[in-house]
């Protein structure tokens, strides 16, 4: 069994030292086989990049880690919890508390303001209003969009929306951060802000980061790079 990444000192003694454990996972859509008998673990606090051609199943793997897609067979443990067999409502609360997801496709709610969008995961995680306000202010400040907090998302540029997505993923201090092509479609300035955060800012330090990317600047930051070679027919 392969162990990817390094073990951070922050992992408390006695805790499971893996943030994600993939056990004999296969995934197929109908007749199309995406993955067969995947078996690996991610140590807590590691930074792993997943690269591969478009359509090779990178997003599928990310979605399986987030519990948004289930493997056809096998088990995925996230922070020691088997998310493949977790009831839907429990999985929702677990996801809100454990995983920060920055999807490739913008998933912000266009009718809501920046602040409201960033605040949503905290509602689902049942965080009290005072803590919500503090956490939202902190994360908006860190990603440099606090001044835009009252703007409705539909009025933002693509780059600004990506920053809001990133802030929303980080707001509840999740131990695991999943990013799907985070620098794609960003101008160099915005991309540099994201790269700066991934380089080891307080906001991302100590978290397990799993990122799909084609961007060499992102893979250079990762401790380990996984390659998916096969393009699904």
């Amino acid at each position: 069994m392969e162990q990817l990444g390094i073990l951070q000192r922050s992992a408390a003694a006695g805790q499971n030292r893996f943030s994600v454990e993939v056990k004999h996972v296969s995934k197929s859509y109908g007749e199309t086989e995406i993955y067969t008998d995947l078996h690996f673990q991610l140590l807590r606090g590691t930074f792993v990049a997943l690269v591969g051609p478009i359509g090779s199943g990178k997003t599928t793997m990310l979605n399986m880690f987030a519990g948004l897609d289930k493997p056809t067979s096998g088990t995925i443990l996230v922070m020691g919890q088997d998310i493949t067999r977790m009831p839907e409502d429990a999985l929702g609360i677990f996801r809100a508390n454990t995983i920060g997801l920055v999807p490739q496709v913008q998933t912000l709610i266009p009718e809501l303001t920046v602040r409201e969008n960033v605040e949503l995961p905290l509602h689902f995680a049942k965080v009290d209003p005072e803590t919500r306000q503090r956490k939202v202010d902190y994360v908006l400040e860190k990603v440099g969009i606090r001044g835009e907090s009252r703007r409705v998302v539909s009025t933002l540029s693509v780059g600004e929306r990506q920053m809001v997505s990133f802030a929303r993923a980080m707001v509840n201090d999740p131990p695991i951060l999943l990013l799907d092509e985070p620098t794609e479609a960003l101008d160099p300035l915005m991309a540099e802000v994201i790269l700066g955060l991934l380089r080891g800012d307080n906001l991302t330090l100590g978290r397990t980061i799993f990122v799909t990317t084609h961007d060499r600047r992102v893979t250079d930051l990762a401790r380990k790079t996984l390659r998916v070679k096969k393009k699904i027919p």
Binding site: E88, R95, E111, L112, E116, P121, H123, F124, A125, R168
Partner: protein, 161 residues
Amino acid sequence: MSRGISLQEGQLLARSLKVSKSTHLLVASVAAAVAANAAAAIQMTGTVGQAVLLVLIFVTLAAGTSAICSDIYARSSQTIANLRSLGASSSSLSRAVFFSVIGYGVVGSAIGAGLGAALGLALGGQGGAASALVAVLGVILASSAAAAAGVYAGGRRSWNS
């Protein structure tokens, strides 16, 4: 930590799912129309007839609110997928729709039942004012329960599909 949803969360979710003033008005109007007719008719009939009318109110309003709820979910399927990725559960979404819609259903049915009861009295309904009051209460109760059941059933069905 509570497993319920706060008013603020409910409002945020309702806005995310595009539950608008038009939806509120639609629910209130349908409830008012059904309740007005039932409250008037209930005074013109005996016990068996009244029971049948209350059952009819329940079934028709439950079906209506369930359909409205399903429509809300169908229009917002992508939003629901997005909210799921953030940790939303079917229960929190159902409750958000429930609380933002149910109030208008109750207000609509109360207004409709009042108007229907007055009409029933004017048309010479049996039992006078006491009977009219019972009709109003019965209709409000049946329509509120129907709206609640309809919203919840519609939400669950849409989530599972």
